[in-house]
Amino acid sequence: MTEAIPAIELDGVVKEYLSHGETVQAVKGVSLGIGEGEFFSLLGPSGCGKTTTMRMIAGFEEPTKGVVRLHGQDVTDVPPNKRDINMVFQSYALFPHMNVWENVAFGLRRRKVAEAEIKQRVGEILEIVDLTGREKRRPREMSGGQQQRVALARALVNRPRALLLDEPLGALDLKLRQLMQIELKRIQREVGITFVYVTHDQNEALTMSDRIAVMNDGLVEQLANPREIYERPATKFVAGFIGTSNLLSGTVESVSGSAAVVRLGAEDRILISSQATAGETVDLTVRPEKITISTEQPEGELSVVRGTVNEVVYLGTYNSYAVGLADGAEIMVFQQNANDSSVTAERGDTVWLSWQPQHSYAL
């Protein structure tokens, strides 16, 4: 396969601000490429630099250092109104003095598109976002979900080469948010435009994205597809930020080939398949749903730790156990309620936790 020119490319981008006389780095050097037609998410906690990164792609912020390229063209100094990119703002930022039709037609009118074509394109896009018949409504007369779709239509009608979405579902309630996630994905498939999605909601990012860049403290911690981000978090931060993770640390006891045995307590043995040297202390992670909880010591080539149940919580689709280990660490275990809702162990019971070696590895 030949290397295609990315739709959006950031090359060593740094953004510094002056705040109370001190230079603050909001983005500390981000390089990434986003492919044509990709659904790409920038995921991270607030203040991680994801919004600043997006605003540099849109052209609202100028990078202190580095280059922004759109389809191979350097646009670092190009103002937002000259970039072939549109944005869906966090609070929608609809024009309050214009009705739906006028809001959506704004971009086309600025580009001096012929009235007949405007009419046709606005009509089409309103149909895609299911707002036909509401052309004359003002934004304040509409629900949050409808406003959100106006914002989407207002951007998409221009057929931009990429669409930037800044936490577009943040203001909606849970039900509507889940509905809009599916809707967004459908629209993206339908129009085939590159989507760059900024969010702090890991579920949103995992559900919709082709690839995710997890950001923290102005840097990209990991860039991969959702499965890899979840299954093999590259750093402690990613492991902790995405889903629930158990972070453990132990001493490498023995190494054979590319596998190693890590020991926590006397009866604990964790198998990892990473490069390690005996005697070294390693941090490792395992997801709660990968762990099997049992009251008898399990057999076989498994990672096994022993602990005492501190807490059992019934959560409908699964049970959650908090198990205290000998060294004071606590491990979360999720047990699916597949057959019945009876729990394997009660508070205070001694239990064995086990999992397949591939589910834990050193960070």
């Binding site: 609202f60 109104n81 549109n86 609809l94 309050p96 003095h97 009705n99 600025r110 951007a155």
Partner: protein, 283 residues
């Protein structure tokens, strides 16, 4: 009952307005329809000749007042809008300081401020006297007692009343809405014309009302800065009332001015009503 509390609490305010605004207006309306003089007394004749005579006699001053008030308002709008815009979007953390500076002159009496303007503009005062001394201005140059001085004074005195409501309106404009305009290919000018300006119109509307009405009726600037050739309707009313003791004429003129201003405002509201302008801006 608790839910009546707001009504009871609002009552004194309404009574204050009722007694001190409506009663004098009714009294004045009655006086404007009387005939007579101070020595023989005034009789309620319901003759409208007070109005026709007064308007006929003082139409020049009435028209002049509207022109001066109008010109001053336009100048205030042109000067004030950029200041309001600058404070709202560019002043950053110093906003309140600039707003305070704007209001600072109000700590000095209106009349005193106008008189000090008189000093400033005097033919041989600090400003022109000095400039003439340096030979930068011709000897016969003067501003005091001209139209320029009166309109200048009006602009100076009422400018903050134009700036403040516009500032309040601009302050409420969400900066992201302006960014959205840029994002949708609007040039700086387009973003201003299509988004910022329309959204600030309620402020412009309030500002124009708050300056045009008092500027048109103002007697102080014309009296202190205008000399004899620039008399405005406010001066006439004052003279008729306080000097000539011609209460019916003064009252009739006051009502005429009020009516003209109200009609003017009504037409202005209809023609430039926010809805109309917003419609136009949305295209």
């Amino acid at each position: 009952m608790k839910r009546w509390a707001p009504y009871w609490l609002a009552l004194p305010g309404w009574m204050w307005l009722g007694i001190f605004l409506v009663v004098p207006i009714v009294a004045m309306a009655s006086v404007s329809l009387q005939t007579g003089n101070l020595l023989d007394g005034f009789v309620q004749t319901f003759s409208v000749s007070n109005y026709t005579d007064a308007i006929g006699k003082y139409s020049t001053q009435l028209v002049r007042s509207l022109v001066y008030g109008g010109v001053a308002t336009v100048i205030m709008l042109l000067l004030g809008y950029p200041v309001a815009y600058w404070i709202a979007f560019k002043a950053g953390s110093r906003k309140s300081m600039y707003l305070f500076l704007l209001l600072l002159p109000f700590f000095v009496s209106f009349v005193l401020r106008t008189i000090s303007w008189g000093f400033l503009l005097a033919d041989d005062g600090i400003l022109f006297g000095t400039l003439k001394g340096w030979g930068l201005l011709p000897e016969n140059f003067h501003v005091l007692a001209t139209t320029v001085a009166v309109i200048g004074g009006l602009v100076y005195n009422f400018l903050p009343f134009m700036i403040l409501p516009i500032y309040v309106a601009l302050e409420r404009v969400d900066p992201r809405v302006i960014e959205a305009a840029y994002d949708l290919y609007a040039s700086r000018f387009d973003a201003f014309r299509r988004v910022v300006l329309p959204l600030s119109l309620p402020g412009v509307f309030a500002g124009v009302l708050m300056t045009f009405v008092p500027a048109t009726a103002d007697p102080v600037n014309a009296a202190v800065l205008g000399g004899t050739g620039n008399t405005m309707i406010g001066n006439i009313i004052q003279t008729e009332y306080l000097v000539n003791s011609n209460y019916p004429t003064a009252s009739a003129l006051s009502f005429t001015l009020m009516a003209v201003l109200l009609v003017g405002i009504f037409i202005y509201a209809r023609a430039l009503g926010t809805e109309n302008v917003l419609e136009a801006a949305a295209r």
